[in-house]
Symmetry: C2
Subunit: 214 residues, 2 copies
């Protein structure tokens, strides 16, 4: 049986229920830790599931910010310093990563509260998460206000990358499963993945084939 | 061993290799089929991995469009008709879904070429994918030009939803694994998932717990 939910039913739904439905509906999401520091160099880390790819040349990613805490600390740090790090979440840290979403008082470091370890790499001013296997550093480029619901899109350029050698395949594909990168769904569900296949570039007159060796 | 890639190395990298690296780097992504029709009602379907959640009230999602075909058919159909559908991809259709990314001639329906079945539900003008288990209909709301790399963000409001009853949990969470929804990474890798846990709402002074029954 299929449940059909109309726009009217959605607007009359209990608020928390609607939040779960709509957050689940978009499918599996990237889930990462964003590392920042304020100008006094206090390290901050927060979990985000709104990271998305914008383009490869220049290498750009977007992050959506809601107008409420705790995301606002990350937001104001990015605008103040121009730098932030993106750190993939693996099975050994996903509970700590989730805990960073608690509304700690301003000035309290989620690193200290959750036991995640800040680490500074190659003179980049924002902290990385030491426990993360795959991470990259961003230079802030552009802020776009999404007026329709008072959220903000921050666009940044990837300027340094750290990848375990074993995860980087010959053609540039990164094997996220070898890095134990997780995905999330809804507000609170964490998942590991099992690769089904890599498929060849699709062409109108050609059957697609598997890129994986037998 | 960790491979460190600097901004300079990234800009000097072979173009295709960079495309793979940057597309992989953002982590696992939502992968969906977007159904549209032009004003003459010819159904069109295309795969996208750039869908992201913008907010729950109003229920908004974003999609990023590159300035090149074949995405431009979907883009112009959305601007012309204001309506589109989002259809989750499951294991039985991911190869056909991937094939929709081929650059077919304008006027050729990817539905016909791939064997996916268009279906029209509750007088909604855009076609759904019959083989998809979880799908929803969107009303276009706002276009934002991302001038930094000539891409475009289209924001739409979710106005109808179809969910298998068995996937919808009491609190509104949608069990995507029961719908066999897949995730993707990079440009061409498809994955199913295994849920690790659902975690309780994080609070500063409280240990997080599992929301799953033992």
């Amino acid at each position: 049986m299929t449940r059909h939910i109309t726009s009217k039913e959605l607007s009359e739904m209990d608020k928390q229920e609607r939040v779960h439905v709509i957050n689940s509906l978009g499918g599996f999401k990237s889930v990462v830790l964003v590392g920042t520091s304020c100008q006094k160099l206090k390290p901050n880390v927060a979990i985000f599931s709104s990271l998305f790819h914008i383009g490869a040349n220049p290498p750009l990613v977007g992050l959506v910010f809601r107008p409420t805490p705790p995301e606002r600390d990350t937001y104001s740090n990015i605008l103040a310093t121009g730098r932030y790090t993106i750190n993939h979440i693996n099975e050994s840290i996903y509970r700590q990563a989730h805990q960073t979403s608690a509304r700690y008082e301003k000035g309290i470091s989620e690193f200290e509260m959750t036991g995640l370890t800040p680490t500074y790499l190659d003179d980049f001013s924002a902290p990385y998460v030491a426990e993360s296997h795959l991470k990259f550093g961003i230079q802030f480029r552009e802020k776009i206000d999404i007026t329709i619901n008072h959220t903000t899109l921050l666009i940044g350029e990837i300027i340094q990358i750290y990848i375990p050698e074993t995860c980087l395949e010959k053609d540039g594909f990164i094997n996220l499963e070898k890095a134990n990168t997780l995905t999330c769904s809804g507000l609170d569900s964490y998942h590991r993945t099992i690769q089904l296949d890599r498929l060849s570039y699709a062409k109108p007159d050609k059957e697609i084939t598997s890129l994986l060796k037998d």
